[in-house]
Amino acid sequence: MGEILVGKIKELKSDVLDMGKLAVTMLKDAVEALKSQNTQLAETVLDRKTEIARMDEAIEEKALRMIALYHPVSRDMRTIAAALKMITYLTRIGRYAKDIAKTAVLLANEPHLSKLVEIPYMADKVVGMIDDALTAFENEELAPLENFAERDDEIDALYYSIFRESITYMMEDAKNITKCIHYIIIARYLERCGDHACKIAEKVHYMVTGEHIEIK
């Protein structure tokens, strides 16, 4: 029985990784569409939103069935538990990507202020964290998660920096207000995605070590 479960878990992990890749590319593409004012690319992100929701449901069902049928324990149980939580975070990330893509469509007609402030840079950082968390999950290792707390602090700092910069632009010229509020909201989304990356890292840590930690 153990061997059967081992195979099923492998399958489950690869499903979660596929979903993770989808969420990451959605986020990357949304920010790219925003930056290059590419509405076509933005539309594809919106389309992919249903795919990620479907994956969420399918993986959850698969994981619950494994619990019911195989009574997993130890590392198997922890992997399934981690997967169940991770797909929720990945769905959220996908949903933020969708929201950013929507905004990209709205902001496609006018040039961006100051090259979009630091949003692309912040997005790279966030994507990097999600990627590392997924790598840690894939290889069941802790090394990629090492300085997540510091990286999360950096994300938070970037958020405040974008926030302040946007406020400056708004005070300079009231015509900037709409654009800047969107920037702030997008930065807020990215900051949340960073938090989700941290939550994924916590679950991976639990999966690997069996211990619960909190990344602050």
Binding site: V73, S74, G210
Partner: protein, 254 residues
């Protein structure tokens, strides 16, 4: 008086020259279910049989180290082996009520031969009490003079538990008690053990990790005569420290 029902100190058991238990140390607190799990042939049954000196029946078995029952070394000098066995009841893998004795006599025999109770009335009430404790009274009350062959596997096993409880032991040893019992009987016995642990310390040998996880408070994992890991059941099944334990509970230990 020690707080532990059973404690072993570097306990080693050998059959002739072959060492089957290689120096184990653990402490079993009172009034809990302690499950000893491990693959077949890892020495679980041998270890269990050393706790009530049933191992003495095997001429080749050699025990060294200490096994303490409430702080007293049962392998010490001047130990009354028979009184040790009365204090530690044992239930076996194969349900073994004595086939030539009635249900009543199966429980009475230990009490009579050990002269534990006086008079028919006291005997009657002790037997009823033991059957009640073993959750069997309702099922056999009107057929105490039947032979155990009329009982199901699970009932036979509970009869054996009643036979043991009648002696008022402090510790119950169970050697894979549900290995020859159907699922319903297994469930009944497991429920009974959950009830009995309120008053007795229970040491259960099982080759089925799922059973250990269902009913035990503490688990010890024995592998090739060594205690690889022991600890609270929830911890062992969520997050075992040892690679072998992990593989065993997950069912992938070759």
């Amino acid at each position: 008086m020690s707080n532990y029902a059973i404690e072993t100190r570097n306990l080693k058991i050998a059959y002739g020259k072959k060492e089957v238990i290689k120096g184990v140390n653990f402490k079993i607190p009172e009034k809990i279910v302690f499950a000893l799990m491990g693959p077949s042939g890892c020495g679980k049954s041998t270890l269990l049989r050393s706790f009530n000196r049933l191992l003495d029946l095997n001429k080749d078995a050699r025990v060294s180290g200490e096994a303490l029952l409430f702080g007293q070394n049962i392998y010490g000098e001047n130990v009354d082996v028979m009184s040790v066995r009365r204090e530690i009841g044992m239930v076996f893998q194969y349900p073994n009520p004595f086939p030539h004795l009635t249900i009543y006599e199966n429980i009475a025999i230990g009490l009579r031969l050990n002269k534990i109770v006086q008079g028919r009335e006291e005997l009657d009430s002790r037997i009823k009490w033991a059957l009640e404790k073993a959750s069997l009274l309702d099922e056999v009350e009107d057929r105490l003079d039947d032979y155990p062959s009329a009982l199901s596997g699970g009932q036979k096993q509970r009869l054996v538990i009643a036979r043991v409880l009648a002696m008022k032991p402090k510790v119950l040893l169970l050697d894979e008690p549900t290995a020859n019992v159907d699922p319903v009987g297994t469930k009944n016995i497991e429920n009974l053990l959950m009830e009995l642990k309120k008053e007795y310390t229970i040491v259960l040998v099982t080759h089925e990790p799922a059973q250990a996880s269902r009913i035990s408070d503490y688990v010890g994992f024995l592998y090739l005569g060594e205690l690889v890991e022991s600890g609270p059941t929830a911890r062992i099944f969520e997050n075992p420290k040892h690679e072998l334990t992990d593989r065993y509970v997950r069912g992938i230990l070759a």
